[in-house]
Amino acid sequence: MEKLMQDLKVQIIQQLNLQEVKPEDIGDDQPLFKEGLGLDSIDALELIVLLQQYHNIRIAKPEDGPNIFYSIRTMAEYITAEKAKQA
C-alpha cells in the first residue's frame, strides 16, 4: 500500500501537471479537492483517465468518485480492491 501511494503521488503530479508540487507535499490522508491540493472538476476527469491509463481500472459508478478520489489513501484502497477483484 505504501509503494502504491507513493506511485500515485508521482502519477498525479505528472498527469495533472502540478509542477510546483513535490510527492512529499501530498499527505496520504490530505483531501485532494478544495482545501487540500485544490484540484477542480477537470482534474477529477484527469484522475479517471489516470486510473485507466496507469492501473487499467474503469470506474463503474461515477457517483463513487468523491469517495474514491477523496485522498491518496482512498485511491490506493480502491485500486487494491479492484485489482483483487481482477485477480
Binding site: 501537471n17 509542477q19 508540487v21 477537470i42 476527469l45 484527469e46 483517465v49
Partner: protein, 206 residues
C-alpha cells in the same frame, strides 16, 4: 487623430523570446532558441509565480496570461468594479495548436485537460479569472493583426461607457511561433498616458 478621453496607458509586446513593456526591453530569454514552453515558464518565474494554474494552461493561454501579467505590472486594477474591465483579443491561428494536440490524444484516451483549451477565447477566461474581469469581452480570428479594428473596438467600449478599462490586442501562437501585443486602454490617464489613436497604437506595435 486622437480620441478624447481614451488613453493607452501601457503596452506589452512579446516576440522572438523577448519582451518589451511600454517600449522598453524588460526581458530576453537567456537561450534565444529556447523551447516556447521554457520561455513562457521563464516569464512566469520572472513576472509572476504563485499561480499553479498557469502550469495547466495551453501555450496560447500561457502567452496571453503572461502578457497581461507584464502589462499590468505597477498598474493596479482594483479601483474598478469587475464589470468595468473588458478584454478584447484576436489572433490568426485560433486554438489550432491545442486542437492538434487534443486530436492526438483522441486516438487513445481523450484528454479532458486539453479539451478545455480547444477554443481560442479560453485565454480571455484565464486572464479574467486572474484579474477578476467581468466586463465585455470578445475574441476575433483574422489573418493579421488589424490594429485599428481591435483597438477601435476597445475604444468604442470605453467611449460608450460600457467599461472603464480594456486589455486588448493580439495573441498568436502556433507550434514555436508566437507573438503577443497587448495594450491597456483606459478612460483615465496614468502610466504612458498616450491619447488613443489607431496611428499611435500602430506605432507602439512596431
Amino acid at each position: 487623430m486622437s480620441q478624447q478621453g481614451i488613453y493607452i496607458n501601457a503596452t506589452c509586446i512579446i516576440r522572438h523570446h523577448s519582451v518589451d513593456r511600454n517600449g522598453q526591453p524588460v526581458y530576453a530569454h537567456e537561450v534565444p532558441q529556447a523551447d516556447l514552453q521554457d520561455f513562457l515558464r521563464g516569464l512566469y518565474d520572472r513576472f509572476s509565480g504563485q499561480y499553479p494554474k498557469f502550469h495547466k494552461m495551453d501555450l496560447l493561454s500561457k502567452l496571453g496570461w503572461a502578457a497581461t501579467e507584464i502589462l499590468l505590472q505597477d498598474m493596479p486594477m482594483d479601483q474598478y468594479t469587475p464589470e468595468d474591465t473588458g478584454v478584447i483579443l484576436a489572433n490568426a491561428s485560433s486554438s489550432l495548436d491545442t486542437d492538434e494536440k487534443y486530436f492526438d490524444t483522441v486516438q487513445e484516451i481523450a484528454s479532458p485537460a486539453l479539451f478545455v483549451y480547444t477554443l481560442p477565447n479560453i485565454v480571455i477566461g484565464e486572464i479574467s479569472i486572474r484579474h477578476k474581469f467581468k466586463g465585455e469581452n470578445a475574441f476575433f480570428v483574422a489573418e493579421r493583426f488589424d490594429i485599428p479594428f481591435v483597438t477601435g473596438y476597445a475604444a468604442q467600449l470605453l467611449e460608450s461607457g460600457a467599461v472603464k478599462a480594456v486589455v486588448c490586442g493580439w495573441v498568436e501562437q502556433y507550434h514555436a511561433s508566437h507573438e503577443a501585443a497587448f495594450y491597456l486602454m483606459e478612460t483615465a490617464p496614468r502610466g504612458m498616458a498616450l491619447p488613443y489613436s489607431a496611428e499611435t497604437a500602430e506605432k507602439l506595435y512596431r
